[in-house]
């Protein structure tokens, strides 16, 4: 990220889009107390992740820089910042909104795409495996849990919902994530 910021690069439409998320518009009230970033467990380990900076960038409309930052994907959504913000900024909700805009712009990390593909295929982000089937039997549970894993009509419903939302295409292999 360059040190100099050109106001001509600011994208007001992006700012407005982020502000559609309830409580995201409160970013405009931020007075830089740093309560969010100083308490952040991720910032403690990776200083490039800075929720305060990201939300202020959103407030300025710095769309390209923000959406292309790999660090917007580091948030664990622990909500500590959101609970602590004296101005009521819904930090995490705003960041999730920024992520959805990134996805709409074709930006998705490859590992996330793979988890998405698992849900498209199995209806579970973490599908069953043989090791767990053995463990289930030992515990006296049915080998396959009574979820979409066992009920095919349930899985068909989930697949239909995913198709309607266009999620299958969103995580399809060809697009190539960043």
């Amino acid at each position: 990220m360059s040190d100099s910021i050109k106001t001509s690069d600011f994208d007001q439409a992006f700012r407005d889009e982020v502000f559609e998320e309830p409580g995201a518009d409160k970013i405009a009230l931020c007075f830089n107390c740093t309560g969010c970033s100083s308490g952040c467990p991720m910032t403690e380990q990776e200083s490039e992740f800075n929720i305060r900076k990201f939300l202020r960038m959103a407030n300025l409309g710095m769309k390209e820089q923000l959406l292309n930052s790999p660090y917007i994907w580091y948030c664990t959504t622990c909500y500590k910042c959101q609970e602590r913000c004296p101005q009521g900024v819904q930090n995490v909700d705003a960041l999730l909104k920024i992520r959805t805009i990134a996805v709409e712009n074709g930006i998705m990390l490859v590992p996330h795409k793979k988890v998405g593909q698992l849900v498209v295929k199995f209806g579970h982000a973490v599908p069953i495996n043989d090791d767990t089937k053995e463990k289930r039997k030992k515990l006296g549970l049915d080998e396959v849990p009574p979820t979409v894993h066992r009920f095919e009509e349930g899985l068909d419903e989930v697949k239909k919902l995913i198709k309607i939302a266009g999620f299958d295409e969103m995580v399809a292999e060809e697009e190539g994530g960043k």
């Binding site: 380990q45 580091y74 909500y79 609970e83 990390l109 849900v119 982000a125 973490v126 767990t132």
Partner: protein, 297 residues
């Protein structure tokens, strides 16, 4: 007998079935009947799927809720992520008629309708609010002589606007439930810190998230506890599998046994560690199992 529909999620049934078995055993003992939520899917994971596409997230979450509406039961979750996803979706759809209409237009294509008649519960808050620590204490047959580091995890209490479980910085309800088993909840530094797994972070940048859980484990060890007790299979996985990854990547050994609350409760109700799947973690729990056996009263 009280009835709840049991939402399994992904990680409990598909990686840690001991948590599923323990939940059934302990709740049955407390007079709660659990209905299978047949054909339920991934909640879906809030940080990841809400990040991708809100429509997909809401459609899948609301479909899961309609399964419990059909049964007329409230949903019981055993995972902070599932609790967060389903609570937030349920809350949004109940509050916003327009959004509910949009979602129902999608759901109608699979012959379903979200009505908004049921609540989403989490095993820990359910036990605390509806059963109560006193009743649990009375049901304990095998008081546990254990020092425990309680790990609330984030989405059990936050965002508080949809939870209403009191303080998010210093909650006590989970500690009270742990102590109802005879165990002692030992305070440790940064107790409310995140395990690092959520929000798709573990999927995207596992090594960085390991630094968060490594620190958490260090703090628990400094408090000289026998085990950590969590309320979420994803935290459980990060704490348990995370130790095997830390060993491989950072060449550092923790040796901290990881239990879900349902498993701790199961021990206090006299079930064996094997019946509760405590020996099925990815890290070795034999020391804790020995201690529990030796200390049985």
């Amino acid at each position: 007998m009280t009835k709840l529909s049991f939402f399994l999620g992904c990680i409990a049934p598909n990686r840690y079935p001991g948590i599923e078995a323990s939940t059934q055993k302990t709740l049955n003992k407390l007079g709660v009947e659990l209905d299978d939520l047949e054909g339920a899917s991934c909640c879906p994971a809030p940080g990841v799927f809400r990040s991708f596409d809100k429509t997909t997230w809401l459609a899948m979450a609301s479909r899961n809720i309609t399964l419990s509406e059909e049964l007329g039961d409230d949903i019981l979750t055993i995972c902070n992520g599932c609790f967060g996803s389903l609570t937030d979706a349920n809350h949004m759809l109940k509050e916003d008629p327009e959004l509910k209409d949009d979602v129902n237009t999608i759901l109608s294509q699979i012959g379903r309708e979200f009505k908004g008649t049921q609540d989403v519960r989490h095993i820990v808050e359910y036990l605390y609010q509806d059963i109560g620590a006193d009743r649990i204490k009375e049901a304990v047959t095998n008081p546990l002589d254990l020092k425990v580091a309680v790990h609330y995890g984030c989405h059990l209490v936050k965002p508080s606007k949809e939870r209403h479980l009191g303080s998010v910085e210093n909650p006590t309800f989970f500690d009270e439930l742990v102590e109802a088993t005879g165990a002692t909840s030992v305070d440790y530094e940064d107790k409310m810190a995140c395990c690092g797994a959520g929000g798709g972070a573990r999927t995207a940048v596992v090594d960085t998230t390991l630094k968060l859980v490594d620190k958490k484990l260090d703090n628990m060890e400094a408090a000289e506890v026998d085990c950590v007790v969590d309320a979420c299979p994803f935290c459980h996985l990060q704490l348990d599998v995370g130790q095997t990854e830390i060993k491989k990547k950072f060449e550092k050994e923790h040796g901290m046994p990881v239990l879900h609350y349902s498993q701790l409760l199961g021990l206090a109700f006299g079930f064996t560690p094997e019946e509760l799947g405590i020996d099925m973690n990815f890290t070795n729990t034999s020391k804790l199992i020995e201690k529990v056996r030796g200390g049985a009263k």
